[in-house]
Symmetry: C2
Subunit: 339 residues, 2 copies
């Protein structure tokens, strides 16, 4: 009879040969891409405490809710949120159908390749770019547009597909938590319908466990077929103090673990860790210019300032990408399909 270790090694080998293994095979170490250290220890100790029947901190499985920010926590967010790169690509793709854009800001600047000029219009300019690229189609059409873009686009710096810029240690953590009876949710400032087409295939997080920002939709019957049309009207911003609101609206109970990376996640961690019983708040610190990007207090994207100051007094764990992660991105043989 094969030993357990031998069996796992054989499965791992088989998995490496096959495309589409959704998560790394569990070995005796559920977090092989995490270096030994305080961060990893805090996670393993927390999971042990909440899952051990009879422990002081035992939490019933139904209440093991873990929430994760997306941009900068589960995948990269530099040089700018990937959803903004999607929007800019869509402007280019849609330009032939919009000759009027050549004389209309912010589109005119964008079409001339002048991003700074386009963004000089501030929030209203960004809103125009978002609505022009995210509204006007049905929800099903939009999901297909996102999938097509992810299947064909490459990141400007790494040249990787965007879905290959997810963090391997976080994939392992998500799988570890689920294997420990947790339900894993995304709670992101990004668009809920931008994420849902691919989060199940890439993270193992189904659409119903994705919380995000949204625009309004309208139900219509067109030629006998019902559709949901995406309207150019804001519905909800799931960022900062909006994150606890979004968590309450979608999940309806307080998480026991929250993982973010920027000050946009501050209130989510605050809300999560203020609950009674065991709680764990974690922050990815982007301090690894060699393998990813290094930024924190002064960054325009993913600014982390208050979180760095208050993590220690609040008992939150700051995870150093440089020191705590053995790997950042998945090995290229382990790239995930986006369905």
């Amino acid at each position: 009879m094969t030993s357990r270790r031998g069996f796992l090694a054989a499965v791992a080998a088989a998995c490496t040969l096959l495309a589409g293994c959704a998560v790394p095979v569990r070995s005796t170490d559920p977090l092989p891409s995490w270096n030994e250290g305080a961060a990893k220890q805090s996670i393993v100790a927390f999971v042990a405490e909440v899952t051990r029947d009879g422990a002081a901190g035992y939490v019933p499985a139904a209440e093991r809710i873990a929430v994760f920010d997306n941009d900068g926590t589960l995948w990269s967010e530099q040089p700018v949120y990937f959803q903004m790169l999607f929007a800019l690509d869509r402007i280019q793709a849609l330009a032939p159908q919009h000759p009027e854009w050549r004389a209309q800001e912010p589109f005119a600047s964008l079409l001339k390749g002048d991003l700074a000029g386009a963004l000089a219009g501030g929030e209203p300019a960004i809103a125009q770019i978002v609505m022009a690229t995210h509204a006007g189609m049905t929800t099903e059409e939009f999901a297909q547009i996102v999938k097509d873009w992810l299947a064909t686009s490459r990141h400007p710096v790494t040249k990787r597909p965007y879905t290959a810029m997810v963090y391997q240690p976080m994939l392992e953590l998500l799988a570890y938590l689920r294997a420990s009876g947790f339900k894993t949710f995304i709670v992101s400032g990004g668009g809920i319908e931008f994420m849902r087409p691919w989060t199940e295939g890439v993270y193992g997080i189904p659409p119903e466990q994705v919380v995000g920002s949204s625009i309004k939709t309208k139900y219509e019957v067109r030629d006998g077929q019902p559709v949901l049309v995406r309207l150019p009207e804001l519905n909800f911003i799931d960022d900062k103090a909006g994150k606890p609101v979004g968590i309450n609206q979608h999940i309806g109970r307080r998480p026991i673990l929250a993982f973010g990376n920027s000050d946009g996640d501050f209130e989510m961690l605050e809300w999560t860790t203020a609950g009674t019983g065991p709680r764990l708040g974690l922050i990815v610190h982007h301090d690894d210019a060699a393998r990813e990007f290094a930024y924190d207090r002064d960054s325009h994207i993913g600014r982390l300032d208050r979180g760095l100051d208050e993590a220690s007094p609040r008992g939150w764990v700051v995870v150093s990408m440089k020191d705590d992660w053995r790997a950042v991105y998945p090995p290229s043989t382990g790239l995930h399909a986006t369905n």
Copy 2:
């Protein structure tokens, strides 16, 4: 060795003796409170088709989403939605703190026991009653108020606790679907935070699988403790054409089974059954004045008119409470705790 049938009978007997058995023990018939007939057959055939690997209509477990209206579908809704009875009770309870209500409609009429007079103010009067009773407290305070009310209140006609007016055949159906790999959701016009405190204990449906109408909330830190405060401002009405919108917002994929009872559920059934592959739409028809209430086309609450006309051409199943249900409410020994 005990036979399987004998074992199940023993478990069932043990279950009857113990308080808090959440769902009926499965026998060879998963729907013992459903009479044999076309309605029951359509459910069993649908579940068999979508779960049998290799069947033409096989649906992967992740896509087995079933949505249920609440008022009139999972529990009774006469003589008026139970949430309105909750609001009226709250007005009485809060009156001592609001002496000004004695001179202010719709409260003045309510406090004199004149419901018709209070509701003469129409939608604005109802909105005032709802906001006076549902807003101003934290989400956690509101959940406790709901639990306390359910624990102590009795229905004006049946004298049962409200949570004992859930439908036994629907409890069996929910359990049967979940045992068949479905995720069961509530999609109700009722208040999402009015339902969540008890749906897990009563229906086995956790808070994150409850979709409903809502008011806005605001995140605040009070004396160092974060809270979500319920504001007297409408957020979303999850009824009629709002139901597909709510389904898309919360669940993010189209259900394959939808169960309603009134024309407020029409668009939910339309949206669900217009999808490709096997789909099942069902409607509870309240035609049982002896055991529950009889109402349809002319009812103020739970009006069912268009649904009756269009069920047949659309292939939706009309479930007769009188003919298709062997029992309506759970036996009193099977009453559910509300946690």
